[in-house]
Symmetry: C2
Subunit: 151 residues, 2 copies
DNA sequence: ATTTATTGTTTGCAATTTACAATTTTTTGA
DNA sequence: TCAAAAAATTGTAAATTGCAAACAATAAAT
């Protein structure tokens, strides 16, 4: 059996390649991080700037500037949170949601192609395995949380 | 069942966090990409500059500069290939191999902790699943290969 | 044998990305 | 009330990136 880390290294590398393909939608150029930001804003409903930055493990200042770009591109909206006016709530514009959905569809298509090389049973097993893995990573103490506040 | 992409997105994000931790060994600061380069040089035995850059899906010029840094840090050695003197063969120095091994050990330790949250049977299943997934990604046509020569 | 094309690698350079420190604005709590 | 904390932004300087171009060595062509 191969070294466990190398399994992961190979997997994330290949998934990374897959991810890279997905960053040009209808002539609009999106960087990899930007696509992740769109994805994350969509996932966390009505998140603050802090929340998304934390969730992505990005430095808040870097994130702030990336968001500015996405706002300029009219893909993201920034609305002050009434209850606490320090907080900015992020959301996708119609255009942003469209782009995010387009990327999502494309990624799922790619993944479907990958899974087409295995049986239905194997596919179910793999997906359940990843689910389980994700749960265990979430439980894990030593890792898998961003550590930017650690200083 | 969750969207397939989100399973992958979550997994790679968490593994990415885990990876980030591993970049400071004995006071020596290694960036994430640099750790990947060390790993890849170790994996491919006696690779050329081109080969490693391709394997990592990195732009060759960016890669060239990163290698220069690693050479300066005395972690990587660059030796001209006798048969074809255009080619530079990369290898780890003793120090580089030590660092790479240290990172590898630490990563495996982290992963062991993650897997400690599941049964031995589950662990075997998950590892086999990842192995299978890697094989299918390798087979896949639409993705999972770097596409830098694509222009 | 000499020219021409190709391949592997490195630099010039300009744009982008990054993160630390400091700042602004608002809220909280002693 | 007022100092401390929290959320977000900006100044700045360093690091990273990738295209175009250059360079060196080999292969192919004439």
């Amino acid at each position: 059996m191969e070294n466990i880390r190398s399994l992961f290294q190979t997997m994330t590398k290949r998934f990374g390649f897959l991810n890279k393909n997905c960053c040009s939608v209808d002539g609009m150029e999106i960087s990899l991080v930007q696509s992740h930001i769109l994805y994350e804003i969509d996932r966390l409903k009505q998140p603050s700037v802090q929340q998304v930055a934390d969730s992505l493990g990005m430095d808040i200042t870097t994130f702030s500037r990336q968001v500015q770009k996405l706002v300029q591109m009219r893909l993201v909206r920034k609305t002050p949170y009434p209850e606490d006016r320090r907080i900015m709530i992020l959301s996708l514009t119609t255009e942003g949601a469209y782009i995010a959905a387009k990327i999502d569809a494309e990624m799922n298509e790619y993944l479907a192609e990958v899974f087409s090389h295995m049986s239905e049973f194997e596919k179910e097993t793999v997906l359940r395995s990843i689910q389980l893995l994700n749960d265990c990573m979430a439980k894990s103490s030593v890792c898998c949380k961003p550590m930017y506040g650690s200083k």
